[in-house]
């Protein structure tokens, strides 16, 4: 009995789990959080890479996106990717993703950065508060981003 259980466990590990570990991926919010962390340290290329991976899994910007348990976060990968492209001076891609974000859900931050694209001096100006757009949309701020 014990031998067969051991064999079964080894079989599960070798045949199913190991290959799946190689082909598994992180959750959308894990990529998104990493992107925000890279952005806060102004590593715009790494941030853009992470936001693109998040968008591959879940492409829709939202003020509330469920992560795990009963916890929700603000999730704006299109907007943040647009901002990263703006800092990388890829203005066309920046406008494209900021437009996608604004098309899905309005945020003052996306609108503000759309007006700054192509103007390096404006990009170095103080960024607007991230939470302001919710008030503009008539919502109370309840859900913030996760912090590593």
């Amino acid at each position: 009995m014990r031998k067969s259980v051991r064999l079964l466990l080894i079989l599960i590990l070798c045949v199913i789990i190991c290959p799946e570990i190689i082909y598994s991926q992180q959750k959308f919010y894990e990529y998104y959080e990493k992107g925000l962390n890279y952005a806060s340290s102004q590593d715009w290329q790494s941030a853009a890479d992470m936001f693109k991976k998040a968008i591959e899994i879940d492409a829709k910007d939202s003020y509330r996106k469920r992560v795990y348990g009963t916890k929700f976060i603000e999730y704006f990968p299109n907007r943040e990717l647009g901002i990263a492209y703006a800092y990388l001076k890829q203005d066309g891609l920046a406008r494209q993703y900021l437009d996608i974000s604004l098309g899905e859900v309005y945020s003052e931050r996306a609108e503000d950065f759309k007006n700054r694209v192509g103007n390096p001096s404006l990009l170095t100006a103080v960024e607007p508060k991230k939470e302001e757009p919710q008030k503009a949309a008539g919502k109370t701020v309840l859900f913030q981003r996760l912090h590593y």
């Binding site: 789990i17 799946e20 570990i21 190689i22 082909y23 598994s24 991926q25 992180q26 959750k27 919010y29 894990e30 959080e33 899994i57 509330r64 996106k65 469920r66 992560v67 795990y68 348990g69 009963t70 916890k71 929700f72 008539g138 919502k139 109370t140 309840l142 859900f143 913030q144 996760l146 912090h147 590593y148």
Partner: protein
Amino acid sequence: MKSLSTVTFIFFLLLTTTFSQKNDFNFVGAGARAAGMGNAFIGVSDDATAISWNPAGLSQLMRAEASVVGRYTMRDVEFKDFTGANETNSLSTFGLNFGSLVVPFKGVFNPVIAASFQNQLDFTYKDNWVEYNEELGGEVPVEGESDVLVHAGSIAYSMKFGFLHAGVTVSRWFSTGEASATLQTPLYGAVKGVDEHSITGTSFLLGALLDFESLNNSFPMKLGIKFSPSFELEDELKTIIPEFNYQAESKITYEMPSVIGFGLSFRVLDELTLAADYEMIGSKNKQISQNDVSVNLSESNEDMNQFRVGAEYLIISNNLIIPVRAGYKNNPTMRADLVDYDVEGLPVYSGQVMANSLNFGAGLVFNNFAFDVAYEYFDFVVKDTADGINENQTHNFITLSGIVYF
């Protein structure tokens, strides 16, 4: 001395068998969120209570969490004989049931460390009954009560390997409180005995969680597996009978059953999660022993097989998230119908007594705090056809949880 031995032997039988009858040993995890979902939580395990359900689920957490759980228990036991006469015994208690702290760390494998405190076994009771013993002079009315609780202090470690989460919980069990019985004996008058229990043991809980949402072709389903090997609880028992200036020490061994459980959870929508568990508690051939006297942990001497299903729906408004939950489970007990006595006067039991639980729950979720409440109800009847007595038990539980997200 013969009479003294008889009295102490009766105390052992009364207290030990009462102990086994007052607790169903069907220990489950903690938390009002899980309770609201019919305890179908092995495949969910994504909050600070995961340490008690499936420690593998802890590595899903990205923020530190702390939880506190309180539980209000109402238990009515009604004895009804064939003449229609009945006697009801009620007990209500409220106390801290569970507390935990979960701390995720930065790292490749999402390492998470957690610690918890939980009330595992509840031996509290207050009861009156009559025993018949010729050596004590015939009918002996007994008043028994106990405030003995068995707790577990636990630490857990969990990591994530791709879509596989793995975790282990190590628990140290210990008890508080004492049990006593007062016998109104025709020969010796009132005799009170006190049992001071010191129950200790160490258990392990191994868990795995396969999160299919982390696959390249993601699918919002999780499969949880948990296993807890059998272990022993040692009870260093001190029996004191002041009237006889008597004090004795002995050891009771509780063979605690192994537990293996499987759970599936499926997030149908962002707002809706469905879950189902199967759990098998290996109570067959497990015994409570003192010296040469042993009683089966389960009167029917059968394993306990439990199925649980539950659902959670999140009502999302502008300012609030309100979870509503419902669940159902079958509830196998350690009790069995008594059908006869053998030639030595020992009881002969038939099949396991089974109950069915209905659970409901709700909550309020904020950014840094969540509050949950759950209600559970079940009842069952233990038939003693040999003596013509039915025992109707009704159980109500209200569980309150608070979770703080740091």
